[in-house]
């Protein structure tokens, strides 16, 4: 168990035990609804969530080292975090959780990065690497100016990133290890940090309404409702990868198994039925109607394990040489999203 000082709790408030922290300081939740001084922390908490829901990172009153001129500033940092969780729980709106958790993860990243890069203070580096090890089971070793982690650990975290710079080919890899700068090291765990914070919020018990916090809660409900995205269809056309696959089949050329899988899962997900899709494969050089129907039914989940298979991601299709990206693809991550615009 990590033992944290006051400044560390302010930097990484999600590591503090909420109930214990309040008790230690001699307060109860109800007081925050009425006490005018404590209400400042509520306002700060509200602000913290609003900033997060706008996709930005909340700027702390503490400096990058986690220091503040007054002790109460540090205390308010922790209070506002804990109260933000209480407010989110009171709204009952799950859309706020993800945004808040991600923004808080990004905020913590700033401090983790600073601590990791602090060449003169070994204890700060140790604390940051301990946090990463304790929360995410990744062992990071400092080697000169870099932080070194096993390739397999790197892959487990980086595969969710869509930016090309995170591909393993764009990293320095040597002897089974990936070499990272402090900022990349903490960026690698942002999602997990976000997940860790969201699970803390999800698992926290929902308190009953605290008198005095009603207005803040109502305001957050309104914000949350505006956040749910809607999609409009902008084109009914198929994405280029699907068009290409259909072209290949129409010409009677061979489409690899992975290409057939993509085409079938795409059309099934678009609502087409097995009898509608099967004729597409008629021109394949190795066409066998019995095998085609068997495989399509398997993909549709109507035979075999009853698992419905979904269309592979653009990333996977790239690896399989099935991606024929055009600018109309518009940064989608799965062919199913082609031609839909987020509004």
């Amino acid at each position: 168990m990590l033992v944290l000082g006051q400044d560390e709790k302010a930097k990484y408030p999600f590591l503090a035990d909420a109930g214990e922290y309040l008790k230690d300081k001699g307060f109860s939740l109800v007081q925050f609804g009425s006490d005018p001084v404590l209400k400042l922390s509520v306002e700060k908490a509200l602000h913290r969530i609003k900033v997060a829901s706008a996709g930005e990172v909340y700027k702390s009153d503490i400096d990058k080292d986690g220091q503040a001129s007054k002790d109460y500033v540090l205390e308010r940092e922790v209070f506002s975090f804990l109260l933000a969780i209480v407010l989110i729980k009171l709204t009952g709106m799950s859309t706020l959780i993800k945004r808040f958790a991600l923004a808080e993860a990004r905020r913590a990243e700033i401090y983790l990065e600073k601590d990791l890069g602090n060449a003169s203070n070994k204890s700060k580096i140790d604390l940051a690497t301990r946090i990463i090890y304790d929360l995410f089971n990744i062992e990071i070793i400092k080697e000169n100016d870099f932080f070194v982690i096993p390739v397999s650990d790197y892959l487990k975290h980086s595969v969710t990133f869509h930016e090309r710079e995170w591909k393993l080919i764009n990293r320095h890899v040597e002897n089974g290890k990936v070499f990272l700068t402090p900022d990349k090291t903490v960026r690698l765990i942002r999602k997990e940090l976000g997940n860790y914070i969201s699970s803390k919020i999800i698992n926290a018990p929902k308190p009953s309404m605290i008198p005095g916090l009603e207005n803040a809660v109502n305001e957050l409900i309104l914000i949350s409702k505006k956040l749910t995205p809607t999609y409009t269809i902008t084109t009914g056309e198929y994405p280029p990868c699907i068009k290409h696959a259909i072209d290949v089949l129409e010409k009677g050329e061979n489409l690899p198994h992975s290409g057939r899988f993509m085409l079938a899962t795409f059309l099934l997900s678009k609502g087409q039925t097995v009898p509608q899709i099967a004729p597409l494969f008629k021109n394949a050089p190795d066409y066998n109607p019995r095998v085609t129907l068997y495989q399509l039914n398997h993909l549709a989940g109507t035979s075999g394990s009853a698992t419905k298979y979904s269309c592979p991601s653009c990333e996977k299709l790239k690896t399989q040489d099935l991606c024929f990206i055009t600018k109309e693809c518009n940064d989608i991550i799965n062919p199913m999203q082609f031609g839909k615009k987020r509004t």
């Binding site: 892959l155 710079e165 591909k167 080919i169 040597e174 002897n175 089974g176 290890k177 050089p285 996977k316």
Partner: protein, 373 residues
Amino acid sequence: MNEIDIKFLEDSFKKYYFNHFDLITSPPRTSEREFGYQKFNSGMFRHISLKENKELHLLFMQNIPSDVYCSNAYYAFPNFPMSEKDWKEADLIFDIDAKDLNLPCRKNHTMSICNECNEVSKDTSQCVKCNSTKLEKKSLPCKNCIGASKIEVNKLSNVLINDLGIDKENIHVYFSGNEGFHVYVYHSQFQEIGSKERSELVDYIMFRGAIPETFGMKKFKPNRSLFPDFNQKGWNGRFSKYVFGSKSKRSKIISELLDSGYPSFQKTLDDVSKNIGVKIDPNVTMDVHRIFRLPGSINSKSGLSKVLCTDLTKFDPYVDACFLSDDPVEVLANCPIEFKLKNKKFGPYTNEKISVPTYAAVYMICKKLATIA
């Protein structure tokens, strides 16, 4: 394939499995693997679990399979349906196939067999007899194909050892039994990674998805001091050797790259990928539920065996993986391309009735270029 040909192939395969069972290595942790097999003219039987070598022997003798497969994955319940098997981990596997290397020699030894009229002709896109486009391609790989595949195996081993930290003794190379090599990696840090992670590893090994910045080319204010050097480890070093050629040319080539600019550098990277990236089949490595040809078993595409290569340089598949008997057999052959097995030349044959050793008859029948006379 007709009944007589199937009977002949089954007899030949059975003889091999009876006499050479020592070549079939039951993989480590046999009871955690999924096995599967195919018979001639029939579908795949899979989700089979075997406890030991004896059971494997029995499977061969009872079924006389055309092909036998074994998972690279380890499961708690290998004989259950896929979703209930409880996947534990999987060895890393790689498939290097001469057909994926785009070699210029390929067109010289590839034939098209028409699915409609069975006409055999040299590599075409349309049947010369009935104009059908439903053609099956068959290739009789040459020495050059095998040599080029070996180069890819060595490139792969180099990346596995130096970049990915794999111990040399944990890399096992097998001849696939047809046109290339299968490489297994045991006991690595990658045993437990899933399909997505393996796909990333594939891109690394194939040198795909590289951005100019990684190799020193910045979009704005490019700086020559950021370009990689010869003595660097990993892809940076390999990139330097390929792009700069020699140390004396490095400075001049960097100037040229800077003059050509950022978009042109991306093209350089694509060229690097094609030339020094390792040409593996991405689908094989990404698949964590695959059943992969069992070492020691015969590949029914050729009648040659999948065998361990202890000395890759000296390995000659047409001698070292050819174990079928020399007994003569009469076949009707239509094989327009010459081939060599056990240091003996065969063909070309144009609808000829000939007597050849069993191993050559099997090779041609497996390639659909002959039938029992």
